[in-house]
């Protein structure tokens, strides 16, 4: 009994130590974002200086961070909604219409799953320039409207749903689109939720492609804007961390609400028995 106690205490000590290491840098960010601008950001200064919201107010007033926030929300929401619809459509076709074409499509999906997106840096840049989409919202959204992982996820889920209900509806004279969006899509909600969360988080944090495919300040998403701030001499750590906090807070709130789905989304497909 005593050794059990000791084990438990040791376990908690270990857990707390790891937790401290994992959480400290993020807590540090929030603390610095609340420090008066110009205060030292060193060892010990975290507790000796006061708390103020002026960094956030400055950012919204001067650095048009509202605009960056808007861009981030717009891009992430549009891409997420598009993915939910398009991945569902493709997955449905692949799951229900079997045949050579379907099999070829599926193999294509798998192959694309494995292509590193980063080798598209140069060709996507050139393509966007040639199509006149460089430095527009199109460049931020178009390449990511459908994603192979999403198709894969929804297809696996659809295959676990028997097609009986669709057949019954068909006999009752329902049109294909009605069946698709009124009957099957609601059934896929759990898979679509997982898909939407993953796509949203990925796109919210996306950096490289938004960075190289746009140049105007008015099109920057939060991560891109932060990277630009950093090169700025006039921006200090307090403002930089306040900007970072603006980028992180929505994610934290979403995570708080969606924790269970996020976890199931990550582990789906990773562990198959």
């Amino acid at each position: 009994m005593v050794t059990n106690r000791i084990h438990l205490v040791l376990r908690y000590v270990g857990l707390s130590a790891v937790l401290a290491v994992m959480v400290f840098p993020i807590l540090w960010m929030f603390r610095v974002s609340l420090m008066p601008a110009g205060a030292a950001v060193g060892f010990g200064d975290l507790f000796s200086t006061g708390v103020t919201l002026t960094n956030f107010i400055d950012l919204f007033r001067q650095a048009s961070i509202g605009r960056f926030l808007f861009n981030s929300v717009l891009v992430a929401v549009v891409v997420t909604v598009a993915n939910a619809f398009f991945c569902f459509m493709v997955a449905y076709a692949l799951a229900r219409y079997r045949g050579l074409a379907g099999r070829i499509m599926f193999v294509t999906v798998i192959v694309v799953l494995m292509i590193p997106a980063h080798i598209l840096i140069v060709p996507l840049y050139v393509l966007m320039l040639k199509m006149g989409m460089y430095d527009t919202y199109w460049a931020l959204m178009l390449p990511w409207l459908v994603n192979p992982i999403g198709i894969f996820l929804v297809k696996q889920y659809l295959e676990s749903i028997p097609p009986d209900m669709e057949d019954a509806a068909r006999i009752d004279g329902a049109g294909e689109l009605t069946i698709l969006f009124r009957i099957v899509m609601p059934l896929c909600k759990p898979a679509l939720a997982v898909l939407a969360i993953q796509v949203f988080f990925t796109n919210w944090n996306l950096f490289l492609f938004p960075y190289i495919l746009t140049s105007s300040e008015s099109l920057r998403t939060l991560p891109v804007a932060l990277a630009h701030f950093q090169g700025h001499q006039a921006i200090d750590w307090q403002h930089l961390m306040a900007g970072s906090a603006v980028a992180v807070i929505p994610v934290l709130i979403a995570f708080g609400f969606l924790q269970r789905h996020i976890v199931s989304g990550i582990t789906a497909g990773a562990v198959k028995q």
């Binding site: 376990r11 994992m22 840098p25 060193g42 219409y97 080798i119 950096f207």
Partner: protein
């Protein structure tokens, strides 16, 4: 039947179009561009130069160091991440009050934007920053201007941050793997008097092998493409430029050497494709591979 086929095709259309325009075309384009001297700056138009770009890469010191740095990054961070993720998963796998708080805390860095993390650590690593001060306290003297401003520490500092960031994510995958192990196995082992160490090495570890392998492969594929942290923290200086940084640098910054960058991208592609093929084999096989 005819009609439903048509609908099937219509449903595939969004994927077909985006795939052709934004994936297939760019891939073919850059494969071909890799054999030309295509550049935004040259007015002469592009010329077919065969394997010259690839030969150029063979002789390019910057590319060599990008290749070397990328491999150091992958070989150094993937095993450490895997072991730490497993240890953390074991720590939180038992039923304990407050377990979900620990899990959420461990996972927190992996949902935070890479740019934000990189900015935070740029400060923590600099002279007078927390990490630098702590290191001094335990007797490790950081380089004069901080960890990111010296070739001997910059890449390793970025690797450490990367491990810190992604370990929670892989912990979750390990946890799912642990959950899938039947409890009966442990009960049987306990009845036969096996110690918990013995149980770990005879039951847990062998049954986690497929999961561990999966983690190693996907983490390697991801690590071969390391970019954002290097871009934000060092701009490729102090011997930190990775392959993607190299592609970015020669491709879309000042030089705009599209052909040369495309060739470099295809070298990266081949390396990652090898790992991806491995992943495909592993996913198809249900049995542990070793």
């Amino acid at each position: 039947m005819k009609r439903s086929r048509l609908i099937g095709l219509l449903l595939l259309l969004p994927w077909l179009i985006t795939f052709l325009v934004f994936w297939f075309f760019p891939l073919v384009f850059s494969l071909l561009a890799g054999f030309t001297d295509y550049s935004l700056l040259s007015r002469a138009g592009m010329e077919w130069i065969g394997w010259d770009n690839y030969r150029g890469l063979l002789a390019d010191e910057d590319f060599h160091s990008a290749l070397k740095n990328t491999f150091i990054f992958v070989i150094g961070s993937v095993p450490v991440t895997t072991v730490l993720a497993l240890l953390m998963a074991l720590l939180v796998s038992r039923r304990l009050p407050g377990r979900s708080l620990f899990r959420a805390g461990f996972f927190l860095p992996s949902i935070t934007s890479m740019v934000v993390i990189a900015l935070i650590f740029t400060n923590l690593y600099q002279r007078g920053g927390y990490v630098a001060t702590l290191a001094t306290m335990i007797g490790f003297v950081p380089p004069e201007h901080g960890f990111l401003y010296s070739s001997s520490t910059a890449l390793y500092s970025i690797m450490a941050m990367d491990i810190w960031m992604s370990v929670g994510y892989y912990m979750l995958i390990f946890l799912a793997g642990l959950k899938a192990i039947p409890i009966e196995l442990y009960e049987a082992a306990r009845i036969q008097g096996a110690s918990s160490t013995r149980q770990f090495f005879s039951i847990t570890l062998p049954l986690l092998r497929p999961v561990a392998l999966f983690i190693v492969v996907i983490n390697s594929i991801k690590s071969f493409q390391v970019f954002v942290e290097i871009f934000v923290m060092t701009k490729g200086k102090f011997d930190t430029a990775s392959m993607v940084y190299f592609i970015y640098d020669v491709g879309v910054t000042t030089a705009f050497q599209f052909g040369y960058a495309s060739a470099a991208a295809y070298v990266l592609f081949l390396i990652v494709a090898a790992f991806a093929a491995l992943q495909f084999l592993l996913l198809r096989r249900r049995q542990p591979i070793w």
